[in-house]
């Protein structure tokens, strides 16, 4: 018996990313800029959701990211999420990340690559023509 927690459906704004989770599909999407006034409040929900999914479910989890600008606390939150995925992966869980970036902005790909450094699970960084 699994305890399903409610999915996230947070509309984006100029300073916050659009966040959408799909428990049934095992997917989490985040796109846009992230420099919210209170990053912890925003990301705590995401980290909570990821932790619950990885604990309660045995199904694969996939992250679809199209994040552009991240402030320091958002960078920290993303590192925490990637660490959770790494821990799960080390216990044999199927987890993966795809980070989409605007092909005109190669710098975002370089930064995504820095995030990927300590991750041994599948982590793709793929260019998108036009807006991601």
């Amino acid at each position: 018996m699994t305890t399903m927690i409610s999915d996230l459906d947070i509309p984006g704004s100029q300073s916050t990313p659009t966040i959408h989770s799909d428990w049934q599909g095992g997917r989490l999407t985040m796109r846009g800029d992230s420099y919210p006034e209170n990053s912890y409040e925003l990301f705590d929900q995401v980290i909570h959701w990821v932790r619950h999914f990885l604990t309660d479910e045995q199904r694969p989890l996939h992250l679809e990211l199209a994040l552009v600008y991240l402030n320091t606390s958002s960078v920290k939150a993303m590192m925490d999420i990637f660490d959770l995925l790494e821990e799960a992966y080390e216990t044999g869980r199927a987890v993966s990340v795809t980070w989409h970036y605007d092909a005109r902005n190669e710098r975002i790909a370089e930064l995504a690559d820095e995030f990927r450094e300590d991750c041994s699970y599948p982590f793709a960084i793929t260019p998108v023509r036009g807006e991601p």
């Binding site: 402030n71 320091t72 960078v75 590192m79 975002i108 370089e110 930064l111 820095e114």
Partner: protein, 260 residues
């Protein structure tokens, strides 16, 4: 070696105590108690050593765990700083690009109205002497109409290159409108400005551009106004504009100064 000697001594004492010939000897009882006391002490010492070793190895493990945690935290912190610095640099570059885009003309790369007006306001605030010159390419519309906007654009770029090469470093030249340029000649009175502008006009008249089998060249009209201390920059601009209008009406290909 020491242990072996100790064991040998103890074995010897035990053997002496056990031997029936020594029973009743005045030292027998005292030696027996000393022997037992020693054995007791030895057990105690061994227990202390064991406890101490266990404690030390626990402390060592704890230290290793702390050290590992510290190294991991340090590594994370460095990664965080590195990525965060990357985003900051990205933002800084974007700001610079935006600033450049908002203050410069994309075709010619010259400062736009916004930038030169900022500079004019500065000059007025600092009570610096300057002369403004509005330059206008004569019959530019004809070039656009006859050869297309592409040729018109190329001509504007060629004119800009000559303008930038001819002006002094401390002058500022902006693209004011379609084929109009505004020169801010710093620390310059109108007589000095006049000779600069005349030299500039002859350089610009020598600019040629190939369009198909034709060679295009243009003349330029100019209106000058020396800033009057205390005037807002708008007044000086208006006077330059009026001088330009007069130069146009007088038959173009000339420069005229607004009287102070």
């Amino acid at each position: 070696m020491k242990d072996k000697e100790d064991d040998a001594l103890l074995a010897q004492v035990a053997a002496l105590l056990d031997s029936p010939e020594h029973v009743g000897h005045p030292l027998h009882d005292a030696l027996q108690r000393l022997y037992l006391h020693h054995c007791d002490q030895q057990v105690q010492v061994q227990r202390l050593i064991d406890i101490s070793d266990r404690y030390q190895s626990l402390a060592m493990e704890a230290r290793q765990v702390t050290e590992q945690r510290y190294q991991r935290a340090l590594r994370r912190q460095r990664k965080l700083s590195r990525i965060s610095d990357g985003y900051q640099a990205l933002m800084h570059e974007r700001n610079q690009a935006l600033h450049q885009a908002s203050t410069h003309d994309p075709l010619t790369g010259l400062p736009n109205r916004r930038l030169i007006i900022e500079r004019l306001e500065e000059f007025v605030r600092q009570r610096r002497r300057f002369t403004l010159t509005l330059l206008d390419i004569d019959h530019f519309k004809r070039i656009n109409d006859c050869h297309g906007h592409d040729v018109g654009d190329r001509l504007l770029v060629a004119i800009t290159q000559t303008l930038s090469a001819t002006l002094r470093d401390y002058d500022l030249c902006a693209r004011w409108g379609g084929e109009e340029f505004l020169l801010l000649l710093a620390d310059t009175d109108r007589n000095e400005a006049r000779s600069i502008v005349e030299r500039l006009r002859s350089c610009l008249a020598a600019v040629t551009l190939r369009a198909g089998d034709q060679t295009i060249s243009v003349t330029v009209s100019a209106g000058l106004s020396q800033h009057r201390p205390g005037d807002p920059h708008q007044t000086t601009l208006m006077r330059a504009d009026q001088a330009l209008l007069k130069a146009k009406r007088a038959g173009r290909d000339r420069s005229l100064s607004d009287s102070i």
